[in-house]
Each structure stands twice: as C-alpha cells, then as structure tokens.
Symmetry: C2
Subunit: 404 residues, 2 copies
C-alpha cells in the first residue's frame, strides 16, 4: 500500500513546521509544530494504558482548562518522555510554555506530544532551543505539512497522511491528517499519534463525540503486535476558517463531516498497519454471523493477534486451522461445525471440515498486499472487521535490537 | 536447560512402545503406546479451546464410561485429527477398537491422542496396520519409555521427561512422565500433551483433583505464544503396582504424592518453555505485591505474552519500559509510581523512574539460559509466577513454513 498523493489543498488557517533538534542521532526531523491562526475547537482521544507519559497527562489537563479551545500542537519523536519521574512533567510544561511565548498564546492552548523510547530523560533544552526557529518556520504549504508528517516518525519506514473534503451549506470544508506508529499497536484505545486539522466550524463537544466515534471504527480496529503504548494520542483542531456555518449535531452537514473524517482516519489507520514493523501485507479479518458485535469483535481481535496466524501469513500459508483454533480460544461460544472460513475469497472450511482447494493457487493469492479473511459463525447477524499485518522475522530483528 | 537424566527406575506395571507408522514424512517415530498391566485409576485435563479434536472428545467419553479406570494410551504425532468432519471420530474410534483388540481389553479402557497439523484427514489405516507390532513391542524398560517420549514430538527439538518418587506407608511410589509441545502454548488450559504414569494406589476422583490442582500451578503457568491448541491433553494412570496402601485424601501420603507429581509436572512444563519454538532462553516472571493472586497472574501473563517484551529478551535488551507498558495494559489497577522492577536480579525501575545500572553488564546477564524478572506492585501481598520464552526470528521461520 502506497501513501496517497500529498494533499493538494490543506485546511485553511493552519501552519505546519518541522526541524531537527538533535533528539534523533541520525539528524532526521524530530520536532514538529502545528498551529491554527485562530483558536480552534479541539478534541482528543488518549491511550487507555495505566502507565501514561507526562505529555498525555498534560494534554488532558490543557484540553480541560482551555475548555476545548486550543491552537497548537508541539510533538517530538525520538523520546517518549515516559517513566522518567517528575522531570517528565517539568519537560512537557517547559515545552508548552516556550511554544506559547513564541506564538503569543497561552500555555493551555498548546498540546504537547512525545514518541520514542521509554524511560530515558528527555533533553528538553534541545526542544526549547529549537522553538524560536520552529515557530517562525510555520507555513500552510503542502511541503510544510509533509515535513511535519516526517518529524513525528520513529520506526516507521514512511510518512502517513490523508485528506478529504465535505460540503457544508454549499461551501467546501477540508480535513487533513498525518499519523505515526509501527509497533505497540493494538485496538481499544487511541493507538499511536495522529494529528488532524480541519477548517470546519464545529463546537468542541460535538467534535469530541465525532472523533471518539470515528476512532472506534478506524484507529481502534487495527493491531500490529497487541501491545499498546503509553503515549498514544489522536488530536483534532477545527478552526472554522472555511467560513461555513457551524455544523449542527445530526444534521446532513454533520453526517458529511463525520464521513469525511472517517475516510481520513481509515486511510491513516490502514497506512499504520501496512507499515507495521516488518510487515509485508495487510490482513483484513471480518467476522460475521455473530450474535453480537462485541462477540464478533472479540473473535476478530483474537485471530488478529495470534502469533501463529500472523506468522502463517508471513509465509503465505493458507493455514485455516490456525484461524479456527484462534477463534476457538476467544472465549465466545459458537459452533465450529457450522462455521465457514474464506481466505483471499477462497472457501477453505465449511461444516466441520476442509473444502478442497488448490494449495498453490491459494498460496499465490495470500502473497498479495492486502488479504481479506472471512469467518462466518452462522449464528446471528452481527459483524466486526479488524485489520492486522503479518508477523515476520524482520519484526523480531527490529524489536530485538531497538536499544542495545 | 538440558532434559534430566533418563529415569533409572520407572513405575512398576507399565509398558511403553513406539514405532514409525508413516505419518511423519521423515520416517521418525510417530506412534506410541503406554499400557498398564492392570486397570489403573485414570485422570485427565483437556484443552479449553472451543474447537476440540475428535480424540479429545473420545478421551472425555471413555474416561466417563470407564468410570475412571483405564489401561492404555495410544498417541500419534504428525496429524492432529482435528476439523476433518465425521471422519475424525471414525478414525479415533477405530484406533481405540484395534488397540483394545490387540491388548485384550475394552475400547473404553483406551485413551487416544493426536498432535500435529489441523484439518488434514488422518490416514488411520497406517495406525491400524502398525497396531499389532506396537502392542507386542511394549516393555517396562527405560529405553522403551524414551522411545515413547520421542514418538509424541512434533516441532520439539528434543524429548522431555521427568520422574520422581515419594513414600507411602514406608514403601516407594514412582512417578514418571513425558510431554511434547513447542508452539500453541498458553496457560489456563491443559497446554500440550503430557502422559504420566505412577504405581501409586489412589482412587480416580482424588487422582483427578490432584492432577487438576497440580496442572494449574505447572502446565497452566507457561506460555510460548499465547495460542492454545485444539488437542491439549494431560493424562495420568495410577495402577497401584507399588503395592502400597491406597492414598487417602489430605493424608501425609497424599501431600507427599502431590508434591512428587508437582515436581514432575513442573519439570516437564519448564522443559516445554525451554524448547519453545525458536526459544533461546526461559523468562521467569514473578509479579508480587498485588492485591489478589488473579491480579498478579493477569499482569504476569500480559507481560509473558507481549511480543515487544519477548523480542527484547531475544536481543538481551534490558528494556524495562516494555515490561512496565505491558503491565499497564493488563486491565489491573496499580500505581506505576510505586512499582519496582528487577531484571536478572538487577534493580532497574523504582518510584516512577529508571535506576542507574550498567547496560552492558545487564545485557550479558540477560543472555543466560533462565532470566528471572520481578515486578513488585507494592499494593498487597499476593503473587503469581509465569514462565515464557524469548521470541526469535527462528519462531517466525518455523511457523511461516510449517505447511507450504
């Protein structure tokens, strides 16, 4: 899966900037800034991990204190600023304070995010020293947006962005977003960092509800390794610069906006899976015919996190037995003798036994970039979809040599 | 970890045999038989996977029908006889019937077990053809026992056995067992195949309670990949051939017998982890200071199944941040700022931050055969221990090329 074409038109009234402040030994971009010209409605979804990095704690506080009206995001890669004692909050606060001073806004209007290694003190002085040039560099250009998208990466092999538009009262509203995340990715939380900007006019409360709802169906349906990070955050700023009227709850405009936002978030989420550490392909697991959506989801997630299933996909092995065995230990009751399984559109299992299929042809189809799997329990009418990637020796290489 | 010395003295009144009947393409031993000279008290623990292989279903039935008095186990490797439709039960029944005829016992006195690939019809005719020579070959010798231990292996790199003795009324009782299992290993069920024989005299009901209790603390505290098989079974036969009096519940003799059985099962369980697919080392995870044992266990299991934790151990990386992050997503409440973490006896994290330690020295200690990890929540007094192995590129190689 290739990243989409860079967005030709970005949301109005936003500036983006990036620089290398010395957190990454390689000298790559490691500090980014996103600023709205005017106060924007803000919403965010955070990690559900009990261990939360200092910037996550600060973001929650600022969102509450600023009553959902914020203006800027400062994000560093190369260090998670997590589990470093009180120095973590000191560094995050200092970052917000300096950014606010340079931008002429209040510290509460600044989101601060960090991603990278856990437990190593963040050399905040490098971030603070870079802040003046970062604040001056902000532009609304595609090039600046792409540089920002690069500055947030860690083990990712490529930047990830997406954009969409919708119509509100006859005028165009733009949404653009970028994301990072290749390991420690698992659903049921805001997995990874994602930053979304839109020039829609929408109240903070409705924006929060819309983001939470869309995240559930996009970022929270992907898994790379079942691990969830201490820093995961999705942030959206909506500054109203499109000049359209305010989006009202449950209006046609709201449905259009939510659909456009979902399009962007779905694309970003799939780009994360496709760039999963060591991944060669995306596996789309659809469990249907379940009694409840929760049951379908639980089975889909159990299949999606099974190391045996994921390694079989690394080898393009049409090993439906491992899919059935994973479903069987998901803790959901169903009748394996009624279950139907399809891999890459090839029926492989029905009524308690294998269906005859050409193993070599199936093997070739399983080597595609995206492989759809269907498990039909034939019990009810609920379904769920989860996206994962294959599990390769390269994943092990990346993660067995991250620090030492 | 090396397998222990072959047991010098086996339980009395048991015969073991093995042969190659052609299920393994390599021509290796793939069919084993264990027979008690007299009817024995029998007990078993089976997989909790919803998908259960035909032999598991048959074993449950025979155990019930024979009222806990059985005499033989027939086990094949190379094919799980699972998810093959009604042919699965036909093959398992035919195996029990033929074994019973050759041994001069009833079919209900025979346990049938299978392990190997799922979904491929079992060529039962090869097993049936080999049965006469298998039944004739049975011996009580150490050599026969070791051949039996070899015949049950699949992706294991070495056989696994253990033995112990205890005293009942001044006489010696012997327990010997062997096991297989290197992938699809996860706690909360009878993980893998294990066969135990003892010449103790003990009623089936007490034997079942003792086995279930011991399994909980041994086989069910290990994990290789979080996947649990459709065929997992632990079987024990107690034939009373030691000539001792019957073991009474909660007597000193019962405590001695349970302790000896636990010693055997603990050794077998750790041998499985040490021979986990692609494993280089055993990781012992102890979570202490928890409010409840269930909470301690849940955190220990979450750490033990985290791909990021397990790959870090493959590289000997003292990456306590991943251990803390895994604990944080276990769904158990605790205070990360109070938590203490120790790796290979080196204190690495306390009061919300890293402790200073020599990274290179720690790296060297993490390359040992067995690495103890302690996570102390400082909340209460409960604890739990779980054993896992590191996650290597070799695991991926084995499982990405199992069939194709």
């Amino acid at each position: 899966m290739r990243p989409p074409q860079p967005p030709a038109v970005l949301p109005r009234g936003f500036r983006f900037a990036a620089t290398a402040c010395g957190l990454k030994k390689t000298g790559a971009l490691d500090l980014g800034m996103l600023v709205s010209d005017e106060p924007a409605s803000a919403a965010a979804v955070f990690t559900t991990n009990l261990v939360q990095a200092a910037p996550v704690v600060l973001c929650r506080k600022h969102l509450r204190k600023a009553k959902g009206r914020l203006r800027a995001v400062v994000v560093n890669s190369g260090n998670a600023n997590c589990s470093v004692g009180p120095a973590g909050m000191t560094a995050a606060r200092a970052t917000a304070l300096r950014a606010a001073a340079e931008l002429g806004i209040t510290p509460q209007e600044v989101f601060v995010c960090s991603t990278g290694v856990i437990g190593v003190p963040l050399p905040a002085e490098r971030i603070l020293a870079a802040m003046p040039r970062l604040a001056r560099a902000g532009r609304g250009s595609t090039r600046s947006f792409l540089e920002f998208a690069h500055a947030i990466l860690t083990t990712d092999t490529r930047p990830k962005w997406a954009a969409a538009t919708c119509r509100v009262g006859g005028k165009t509203v733009r949404i653009a977003g970028c994301t990072k995340g290749a390991g420690m990715i698992h659903p049921r939380m805001a997995t990874m960092l994602a930053f979304l900007a839109t020039d829609a006019a929408i109240a903070p409360g409705l924006l929060q509800r819309t983001l939470a709802d869309v995240s559930k169906r996009t970022f929270n349906t992907i898994t790379v390794d079942g691990d969830s990070s201490t820093n995961d955050t999705v942030i959206i700023l909506a500054n109203g610069a499109s000049g359209t009227r305010k989006i009202a709850r449950d209006s046609a405009a709201h449905r259009g906006f939510a659909a456009a936002l979902e399009k962007v978030c779905h694309s970003l989420a799939l780009q994360i899976v496709a760039d999963g550490e060591g991944a060669q392909r995306v596996i789309e697991i659809e469990v249907r015919g379940a009694g409840t959506e929760a049951a379908a989801r639980r089975i889909a997630e159990t299949i999606a996190t099974s190391p045996l299933v994921k390694t079989a996909f690394a080898g393009g092995d049409p090993n439906w037995g491992r899919i059935l065995a994973a479903a069987g230990r998901a803790g959901v009751k169903f009748d394996p003798d009624e279950t139907y399984i399809e891999m890459a559109k090839i029926p492989v299992y029905r009524r308690g036994r294998a269906l005859p299929f050409d193993e070599n042809a199936a093997h070739r189809r399983l080597l595609a970039d995206t492989v759809p799997i269907v498990v039909d329990l034939k019990e009810g009418y609920a379904k769920a979809r989860v996206w994962t990637c294959d599990f390769t020796a390269e994943y092990v290489r990346i993660n067995a040599s991250y620090r030492t």
